[in-house]
């Protein structure tokens, strides 16, 4: 799937560049893309280190196990063979819910690692479910959007909180349903 997405995006974009006679620009555009991955990784490095460190403190204090016990039942409905991934998955969803995107990503990666038990290079049902859940942004307060609305002179920047919350819930429910259905195909 990703091989087609990647290939088609790259080819269609490159052909358009070349058709416009912008070959040199295409090269610099390709490099900018790769460069931005490096810059992004460096920006993320600090927050990964911080959150992985704090997560390990929580682990050694027994809090992660406690959280896992608490959420085992509800989360196993969605991800039946999650096992050790329950705790980081719960932390990831909680961080997303409270709008802490930077904290959510390391927990999400930890979840994927724990889910990756057979190391076959093939996504499991649970992995797909976890990713689908992450693609519907259920968030308590969409703070970034509210800030942008305020900056753009909105008279009621908070007006969108309820519709945003309901809409993201709809997206999450559809994500779960789509995953369960597609997994059977």
């Amino acid at each position: 799937m990703m091989m087609w997405v990647f290939g088609l995006m790259l080819i269609s974009g490159s052909v358009l560049f070349l058709a416009d006679g912008r070959g040199a620009e295409l090269m610099s555009c390709l490099l900018t893309g790769a460069d931005s991955a490096v810059t992004l990784s460096l920006t993320l490095a600090g927050s990964y280190i911080l959150w992985m460190g704090l997560l390990n403190i929580a682990k050694e204090a027994g809090l992660v196990d406690g959280l896992a016990r608490l959420l085992k039942k509800p989360l196993s409905l969605l991800m039946p063979s999650a096992g050790e991934a329950i705790a980081p998955a719960a932390l990831n969803l909680a961080a997303n819910f409270f709008g802490l995107g930077n904290a959510a990503t390391p927990f999400g990666i930890e979840t994927m690692k724990k889910l990756n038990t057979d190391k076959s290079g093939r996504a499991t049902d649970d992995m797909c479910m976890f990713i689908a859940l992450n693609s519907s942004a259920v968030e308590l307060l969409p703070t970034t959007v509210i800030a942008i609305r305020t900056a753009c002179g909105s008279a009621a920047p908070q007006d969108i909180i309820l519709p945003t919350f309901v809409s993201s819930l709809v997206a999450a429910v559809v994500a779960v349903a789509a995953c369960k259905l597609l997994a059977k195909l």
Binding site: M1, M2, V5, F6, M9, L10, S12, G13, S14, L26, C29, L30, G33, A37, S41, A45, Y48, I49, L50, W51, M52, G53, L54, N56, I57, E60, A61, L63, F98, P106, I109, M112, L115, K119, R122, M127, C128, I131, A132, N134, S135, S136, P142, V145, I148, R149, C152, S154, A155, I160, P163, T164, F165, S167, S168, A171, V174, A175, A178, A183
Partner: protein, 168 residues
């Protein structure tokens, strides 16, 4: 309010761990050690995805997609002004925030278009980025139904944003 939740949680966490006689210093360091290999593993996947996205966007291909989907969006009652945002949203978080700002300034933050654009951005995610990072971290290339499910969920998010903004 949200500015305080996190720091307070961190203080409570470290205090609780100390009470339970956890060596918080070595625990932090041990955990942090896993962060760098994680980043290095994700980097190639991120680079592949961001390169493809950059070419797709800068070449104007994304613009054609936007034009192509506008009539279809109109047919289901989605304002054509939202087409660029809908097309861009799954690819780039920072670019869609910039586009949201542009949309709000052009059409007004409290108009139908402005409100729907805000709800749409708030209730959907950068699907391709999420997929690249999470599957990249565990070296998975056969992503099975993750992408279709995420895209269907994203479409549902867009549709419900449009409908909810009309009735709420």
């Amino acid at each position: 309010m949200t500015d305080y939740i996190l720091p307070i949680l961190i203080v409570l966490l470290v205090a609780y761990a100390l009470i339970r006689r956890v060596n918080v210093y070595s625990a932090f360091v041990e955990g942090a050690k896993d962060a760098l290999p994680m980043l290095i593993e994700v980097l190639p996947y991120l680079a592949a995805m961001l390169t493809a996205i950059a070419v797709f966007r800068e070449s104007g291909a994304l613009g054609y997609v936007t034009k192509a989907i506008s009539p279809a969006l109109n047919a289901v009652g989605i304002q054509a002004e939202l087409a660029p945002l809908i097309a861009l949203r799954p690819f780039s978080g920072s670019a869609s925030l910039a586009l949201l700002q542009d949309t709000l300034l052009t059409y007004g933050a409290d108009t139908d278009v402005g409100r729907t654009a805000s709800v749409l951005v708030g209730s959907t995610e950068t699907i391709f980025y999420t997929l690249a990072v999470y599957f990249g971290a565990v070296g998975i290339t056969k992503t099975r139904h993750a992408l279709p499910a995420a895209l269907i969920s994203g479409a549902a998010g867009v549709l419900s944003a449009v409908i909810l903004c009309k009735i709420m």
